[in-house]
């Protein structure tokens, strides 16, 4: 287990270095000049050249890269080009909101999808098709609805028509109730599509495990259906489910960007979109790394969990 974790940690480090390099050099490949974009029409000639010097754009590429990496290591991400605010401050205020949305979504999705998928699988296994078809069909329909569309519909119904949840407004960490009310809809919207994927995956995994020989062994030993389901079937089915949760996290991050925009939530997604719109490459590259590292870390956690659940997993 230790050797396994160390190896996965090493992979994490390698991936991180790759991500940082990819983001940095990809940004440099984009045509155009950051200084000119920042200055707009106001500067020209020598003044522009001075700005380039100031921004370090005239340094050799490797020096620029080193400065960038050094900045990342000491958590100094520089200042935004447009507003001249420290990027780390922006992230510090936006990240908790996005993380809260993501984590709450995953938990809600798991809490709904796994029982739903398990029930569907159990019914299918016993030959009771109706409930299984109902759950599977529902999951399919939800999966077909794009989250920007559900977000708008929910906004229309629950905020504008019924007025249950506020459609906009500040987010204050001192007022938990307001946070819950403010984030409830986005979390609900995001978890719907997660539920759709997860429930179907759970159904498939549990259904497959239920026809395994060791489940028959457990039944033959006289264990009740419930115990067979929880002790043997779900534990084994957890392996593919964990994989899917890990992978769908990427999807979820996509979703947060869209939903934050629709519900005007000052999360990382909103900051990112603003950065892109104002061609603030300093900001954008740090945010890209933020998203990538989040995803890499989730995958790392998935791998570790996978090994903890299944002793057979080798490197």
């Amino acid at each position: 287990m230790l050797a396994y974790s160390l190896k996965k940690l090493l992979q994490l480090v390698v991936t991180t270095i790759g991500v940082v390099m990819l983001v940095f050099f990809a940004m440099r490949l984009i045509p155009g000049d950051a200084a000119a974009a920042m200055a707009g029409d106001t500067l020209s000639g020598a003044a522009l050249e001075r700005l380039r010097d100031q921004m370090g754009l005239n340094d050799p590429l490797l020096v620029q890269f080193w400065n960038f990496v050094r900045g990342l290591l000491v958590l100094d991400f520089g200042r935004t080009l447009t507003t001249n605010l420290p990027v780390s401050d922006l992230i510090r205020s936006a990240a908790p909101i996005t993380l809260l949305i993501a984590i709450a979504t995953i938990i809600l999705a798991i809490a709904i999808a796994i029982p739903l998928g398990t029930v569907a699988a159990f019914m299918a296994h016993k030959g009771h098709k109706t409930l299984d078809n109902l759950i599977t069909g529902l999951a399919m329909i939800i999966d077909l609805m794009p989250s920007f569309w559900t977000a708008l519909v929910f906004l229309l119904i629950f905020s504008l028509t019924l007025g249950w949840f506020p459609a906009s407004g500040p987010i204050s960490w001192d007022d938990p109730y307001s946070i819950v009310m403010r984030l409830a809809l986005p979390i609900l919207v995001l978890s719907l599509s997660q539920v759709a994927i997860l429930a179907r995956m759970t159904r498939t995994a549990v259904l497959e495990v239920l026809s395994e020989d060791y489940v028959r062994t457990a039944r033959a030993m006289g264990w009740s259906e419930l115990r067979v389901l929880f002790r043997h079937a779900l534990k084994n089915a957890a392996l593919p489910i964990v994989t899917v949760v890990g992978l769908s996290f990427g999807n979820l991050l996509n979703g947060t960007i869209i939903v934050e925009a629709i519900f005007t939530i000052p999360g990382v997604g909103t900051v990112l979109i603003n950065g892109i719109n104002s061609r603030d490459y300093q900001l954008v590259q740090v945010l890209m790394i933020f998203y990538a590292l989040l995803f890499v870390f989730i995958n790392f956690a998935t791998d570790i969990l996978y090994r903890a659940l299944d002793p057979r997993v080798k490197f």
């Binding site: 296994h125 060791y214 028959r216 039944r219 033959a220 006289g222 002793p311």
Partner: protein, 658 residues
């Protein structure tokens, strides 16, 4: 009298059991009107081919069938309690406690993510009312009884850390630990090697006799029946067609199917000079309603009444029933209409022309682990093998799984590159695989499948290729009607014939057949064996026949090479090797094979080869077999014996071969 009545009451009484599976193609009546009983302590074998309903019957008894299978009618009385009418809760109290179960595949029958200790102690705690500590001690004791070395340590292992044989021991320990009155074992040794099978059979025999546990075991191996059973139920197409004591089944079978089955098994002692009798045709399609006797189309004694009405079980002796309209079944008439052709064997003066020569062949697989790149693991899959195959001869290669016989086949075909050594072949080498169903592209018609090698080698134009394909399909005993079908539409036996036809398309000099009959049912197996023997005779093609089925190898081969841990330990003419083995491993293998003759089985000493195959990673300086050999001496442990000729035309790698 009342007391006597109590004593003779059956433990399990199955009455008119009927089980059906709803499939897309129609309802399959997997078990039809089965009735039998088991006395306390009695061992009953249920014999039949795949699809005969033997597993479905066993599963029906404990109501373990899953959708779409279900018991439609009948009663199952266990000590007077009707299992068919119990509630789910009552049923769970009986499962595991009164009836233990062992399944076929030990690799998948234990929960892979749960430690053995947990899987074993939980049922003991529940059924015997012990606390965890007592249950743990009990579980360790049972592991010791089933022959697991160092059980205190092994009990904490996960199933994947154990070999198949060890896992099956755990299954048996688990099933017996709650002291059931009945043990149901569904093909308990089919997935195991023959020496491990012998060990498991001994354990089952010993432990069930000690506790007077009755046993119902399902098998297709008549040798195992002779070794283990008191009574035998023979099933065909969902029905019990014959039920009798083991002695009567073997000495005086009444049903034509039983009679045919017994005749299709190669005899282990007689020099096999004639063709193996074969049951013609195929088992019936269970999706269609069967009118009359299900076996009549394959039965030479069938008359009009057999087509009109299904025969019921009638008394044929004190405890012998059979379902056949004919009083004697087949009687003494042959089971198929094939002329009783002599089987020409190549022993005596062998043909001299060597077409395959293997010299000091090695195949080593090297793996290295992540953290210690310097420490390399070397698996010697094939280690210093030298063999010759002569024109028109069949070389049988036998050995337990992991002995390197399949790697040798792959080397012969050029699918693997040897690490060192040489293979010379004259002419082409072709291959027949074990599982015909998965060795064909399911989307290709049979015609294209047979034509493919001709196309690859650009042999002839379209017209000559088609002529060749038609010639080949007839050669393997099928007709042109089969050519336009897809693999899914043919049976396993027919597909294996197609595999042979494809292998012969390019007129190879050698055909390597890796376990070509082990995926087939007993009644079809003889057909393929005869086909290979005929082809050898007609075409002069040589076969390398790889199998773990010793009786079949001995029957079909001219010479046998016995492999152990990548090495050939004995080589010589088939009958001589089989009847007077020189190497202790060969002797152990042959001793482990159950012989389909209860009288001989009873007389055989149960000299069971101890232990399992050592890890292929271990470095063995002396004789590779010394760790398990009953005769091993100090010399064997230090000095490696070379394969040497010790008698005329016979070689063995043993210091003590004479």
């Amino acid at each position: 009298m009342i007391h006597q009545g109590e004593i003779t009451a059956p433990l399990l009484d199955v009455r008119n059991l009927r089980t059906e599976f709803a499939t897309d193609g129609g309802t399959v009546r997997a078990v039809d009107d089965a009735s039998f009983s088991i006395m306390p302590g009695e061992r009953i074998a249920v014999v039949g081919e795949s699809g005969s309903g033997k597993s479905a019957m066993a599963m029906s008894i404990l109501r373990l069938l899953v959708y779409p299978g279900r018991v439609v009618a009948g009663d199952v009385l266990l000590e007077g309690t009707n299992i068919a009418q119990l509630s789910e809760r009552q049923l769970n109290q009986l499962r595991g406690r009164s009836v233990g179960t062992v399944f076929q595949d030990p690799m998948s029958s234990l929960d892979p993510v749960m430690r053995i200790s947990k899987q074993m102690t939980a049922p003991i705690m529940r059924n015997l009312g012990m606390n965890y500590k007592e249950a743990h001690a009990e579980a360790v004791e049972w592991l010791r009884k089933v022959g697991i070395p160092d059980p205190e340590r092994r009990i904490t292992a996960f199933p994947f850390e154990m070999s198949g044989g060890m896992r099956q021991r755990v299954m048996i320990a688990m099933a017996l630990s709650c002291r059931p009155k009945l043990l149901i074992a569904d093909e308990p040794t089919t997935a195991l090697d023959v020496t491990i099978q012998a060990q498991i059979v001994e354990i089952l025999k010993k432990l069930t006799s000690e506790a007077n546990t009755a046993m119902m075991f399902i098998t297709h191996d008549l040798g195992l029946v002779a070794r283990l059973a008191d009574k035998v139920a023979v099933m065909y197409a969902g029905r019990i067609v014959e039920f009798a004591t083991v002695e009567e089944i073997f000495a005086a079978p009444c049903h034509p199917y039983t009679q045919s089955l017994l005749r299709t098994i190669p005899s282990p002692t007689a020099l096999n000079t004639s063709r193996l009798p074969q049951i013609p045709g195929l088992p019936p399609d269970m999706k269609k309603a069967i009118q009359g006797c299900a076996f009549r189309e394959r039965c030479r004694a069938a008359t009009d009444i057999c087509a009109r009405e299904a025969p019921a079980l009638t008394d044929r002796g004190a405890s012998h029933v059979a379902a056949c309209w004919q009083p004697e079944g087949l009687g003494s008439s042959p089971i198929d209409a094939q002329p009783d052709r002599a089987l020409r064997r190549n022993d005596g003066p062998f043909r001299d022309r060597v077409i395959v020569e293997i010299n000091n062949l090695n195949k080593h697989f090297v793996s290295s682990s992540f953290l210690s790149r310097t420490k390399r693991n070397v698996i010697r899959a094939v280690n210093g093998v030298s063999l010759r195959v002569r024109q028109g001869e069949t070389l049988g290669i036998v050995g337990e799984s992991g002995c390197g016989k399949s790697t040798l086949a792959r080397l012969l075909l050029g699918l693997e590159k040897p690490s060192s050594g040489e293979i010379f072949t004259e002419g082409l080498t072709q291959m027949v695989f074990q599982d015909p169903a998965s060795s064909f592209n399911p989307k290709m018609r049979i015609r294209s499948i047979i034509e493919e090698p001709l196309l690859v080698k650009r042999k002839g134009d379209w017209r000559t290729r088609q002529a060749r394909v038609e010639e080949l399909v007839k050669l393997v005993g099928l007709d042109e009607a089969h050519l336009d079908r897809f693999p899914g539409q043919l049976s396993g036996g027919q597909l294996q014939r197609i595999a042979v036809a494809r292998a012969l398309a390019l007129e190879p000099s050698v055909v390597v057949a890796d376990e070509p009959t082990s995926a087939l049912d007993v009644s079809v197996r003889a057909q393929i064996i005869n086909l290979l023997a005929d082809l050898k005779q007609e075409l002069g093609v040589a076969f390398v026949f790889i199998s773990h089925d010793l009786l079949t190898v001995q029957y079909i081969s001219d010479r046998i090479a016995v492999m152990y841990l990548g090495e050939v330990v004995e080589y010589g003419p088939a009958d001589l090797v089989f009847n007077s083995p020189s190497h202790p491993y060969t002797k152990a293998l042959i001793d482990a094979v159950p012989i389909p003759d209860p009288a001989r089985e009873a007389k055989r000493a149960s000299a069971v080869l101890k232990g399992e195959l050592p890890s292929p990673l271990s470095e063995i300086s002396g004789c590779t077999f010394a760790t398990r050999c009953p005769l091993a001496t100090e010399q064997c442990r230090t000095e490696k014996p070379k394969l040497r000729q010790h008698r005329k035309s016979r070689e063995a790698a043993c210091h003590y071969a004479k």
